[in-house]
Structures are given as C-alpha cells and as structure tokens.
Symmetry: C2
Subunit: 237 residues, 2 copies
C-alpha cells in the first residue's frame, strides 16, 4: 500500500474506532439508566425516576449522532467486507440500545406512578434480581461487541432463556397478588409493565449479541434457536 | 455518462427497485399477519392463530434476505447521497416490519390461549377497532415508503397519538373488568398483552414513517414531537 493509501486507511481506522467507542459510551449510559430505573422502582424514589426520564434525551442524542457518523463513513469510505459488516452491526446495535433506553424510561414512569402511593410489594426481591440480571446481560453483550467475541455473544443469547423463566415466575406471583386483593390491580399492573420492560431488555441484549456473531462469523443467526446458533459457531471453529 | 456507466446505473436502479418491491411484499405479509391475529383473537379461532404463528417464519426470511441484498448493494455499488439513504432506510424499515411480525405472533399466541376457554369479552369491539386502526397505519406507512412521500409519512406519525388514546381507554376497561371479577384476571391479562402488542405496532409504524422523512428530506426526525416534525417539513417546502 502506498503512503497515501496508508494515510487514508489510518484515518479510516481511527473513524471506525471512534464509532466503536461511542457505541460503548452509549451502552454505558443505557446500563446506568436501567440500574437507576430499577432502584427508583424498588426504593420508591421519584427523584431518581425523573432523572432517568430526563436522561433518555442523552441516549437518543447518542443514537442520532452515531447514525450520522455511520452514514458518513458509508458514503465517504465505501467500506467492504468486515469494515462494512462492522458499520451495519453498529447501525443495528444502536437501534436496540436506544430501545433499551426506552424500556428504562418506561420502568422509570411506572416507578414515578408507584412512588405516589404505597406500592404492593409483589415480588420486589425477584424484580430486583431480574433487574441486575438484564443489566448484566446488556453489559456482557457490549463486552462481546467491544472484543468482537462470538463465544461471549452466544453466552448472552443463552442467558435470555433464563431471563424469560424469571419473568414468567414474577408474572405468576403478580397475578396471584391481584386475585387475592383486587384493590391492588392498578398498582400491580404498573409493576407488571415494568417487569415486562425488563424482559424486553433481555431480548434486545440478545439481538445485540446476534449482530456480534454476524460481524465475527459473517453469518446471520437471527431467528434460530440458541442450540442451532451454538452448532453454527462450532462449524466455524 | 458513457454507455458502460449507463449500463451499470440501469442495473443498479433495477437492484434498488427490486429491494423496494421486496420491502412492499414483506409489508403486505405483515399486514395480513396483523389482520389474521386480530380475527383469531376476536373470533376465538385457534386454527388461524396457528397459521399466524407459522407465518412468522416467512416474515423472518424476508428480513434476512433483504438485509443480505442491502449489504451486497452497499459493498458492490457503494451508493452515495439519496441511494445510500434509501438503503439505510430499508435496513431500518425491515427491522421494524420484522418486529411488527413478532407482535402479530404474540397476539396470535394470546388468541390460542384464550380460544381454549370462554374469553371474557372485555372491550372486544374496541380491540377490533384498534386492530383495524394499526393495520391501516402499517399500510399507510408502507404507502408513504413506496411513494417516498414525507407528507403522508407525517400523517402516520400524527395517527400514533390517536392509537395511544384508544389503547389507554381499552386498558382502563380491562382493569375495571378484572377488579369487578377477579376470577377473570388471568384471561383479561392475556387480552391486555394483545392490546399492548397492537399499541406497539403503532409505534413501529411511526418509526417507518420517520425513516421515510429521513430519506426524502435528509433530516433525522426521530425523538421530536409531531408538531416539531410538521414544522421541519414546512421549512423544506
């Protein structure tokens, strides 16, 4: 490669690295939003809930800016092969991160609404655990993204099934709570919407993990079971 | 432009047109999935619900293929300006169409579960209306996409607020139903999850409308109010 080519390529690498850094920063912010939203819900802290609701603007701004940067790179650098896959993976990843941010905002709204009255403490301990669990999943999906590690990404996808089971168990507890005391219906429903949002965060983390596998292996592993996914990765050893 | 250039460009146009056609076909399928899922729910038809659940595989296949085609176009044609914006808009649009498909599948699952027993007819008439409404929204978002009409896209975004109001009203009715007869809690909850899925379809239609505006105007109008969106479009008259 001639010096000019090297120069271009160094600049291009710096641009790609910058985009990756921004995705990680966006991810870090989103993780914090989840943690704060769950704390607001569990501890009945409407001040923290309000912070999360305001913080969503920052998440959105990240998305718009990273998207612009990706379009600029596509237009000016016309990347191919793995560079192109990286840009496409970023475009998709930030959409899911932004929607995780929306789910955190939803949880915060429910927390605000519940903080006004005595919330029925239906399954609060389990909800706190689920909150930690999905936050960790987001973190692990981002780590897999940062290191472009398809094994780590597979582990995230596997984790999603556990989240779904925890979710089902909490939902059953909430239902029993409502049936035993119908006066709690409205408030328990708020809790259920928040729990549903946590479950969705698990789904979005799995999506991000799938984009990592797409990037690393060049294989589209969406819409297949985790077992099939594991076999696909095994083949490419 | 020389003959060779023209030849390339004609082929390229044909490829872009093919992608657009496929998005429309995917959209048509998704619209049908919504209609069938709602009918299955309202009429208690588990056969139709099963069809919708099976049909989701076709929706997913569309997404994977269109995605591959877009990556191929980005790598081989290295599009710029409005061609690039079109490809990016397509990549984002099919993600939302696929998730609308997932919501239709969720509604079908609830329909299956409800068909097994006498469903409480909580707000069924309103749910049917909401179903028609969001299906129309998806259709209008796709029309706006096909004609790349930012005015029509704005109308879709405006419609979303109406969907949200209908959703709130149905939710209140369901809550009253549960409180009056706690034995219905589990079944009314199934209905509420289905209604929530319809509301989400409205959100996804709005997202698609926003990509159309991004394509036509070159402006990112996500995360702003419909009023701001209308002003942005006014400026570019």
């Amino acid at each position: 490669m001639n010096t000019f080519g090297q120069h271009i390529s160094q600049q291009f690498n710096a641009e790609l690295e910058d985009v990756r850094q921004r995705v990680m920063a966006m991810g870090g912010l989103v993780e914090q939003q989840i943690a704060d939203a769950v704390t607001a819900l569990i501890d009945g802290r409407s001040d923290l809930a309000a912070e999360v609701e305001q913080g969503d603007v920052k998440v959105n701004t990240f998305e718009v800016h990273i998207d612009e940067e990706c379009s600029r790179i596509l237009a000016r650098r016309q990347p191919t092969a793995s560079d192109l896959r990286l840009v496409v993976a970023v475009i998709k990843t930030i959409t899911d991160l932004e929607r995780i941010g929306d789910e955190a905002e939803r949880i915060a709204r429910m927390a605000s609404s519940l903080a006004k009255e005595e919330p029925p403490r239906a399954a609060f301990h389990e909800i706190e655990n689920l909150g930690h669990h999905v936050r960790r999943m987001v973190g692990e999906a981002l780590d897999a993204f940062a290191r472009m590690d398809s094994r780590a990404a597979l582990a995230v996808a596997e984790e999603d099934a556990k989240v779904d089971r925890e979710y089902e168990s909490i939902m059953r507890q909430c239902m029993t709570f409502m049936m035993e005391d119908p006066r709690t219906v409205k408030r328990v429903l708020d809790i259920m919407w928040a729990v549903r949002a946590l479950e969705r965060i698990g789904d979005h983390s799995r999506n991000i993990a799938e984009y990592v596998i797409y990037f690393v292996e060049g294989k589209d592993v969406r819409h297949i079971s985790v077992e099939q996914m594991a076999r696909e990765l095994e083949k490419s050893r």
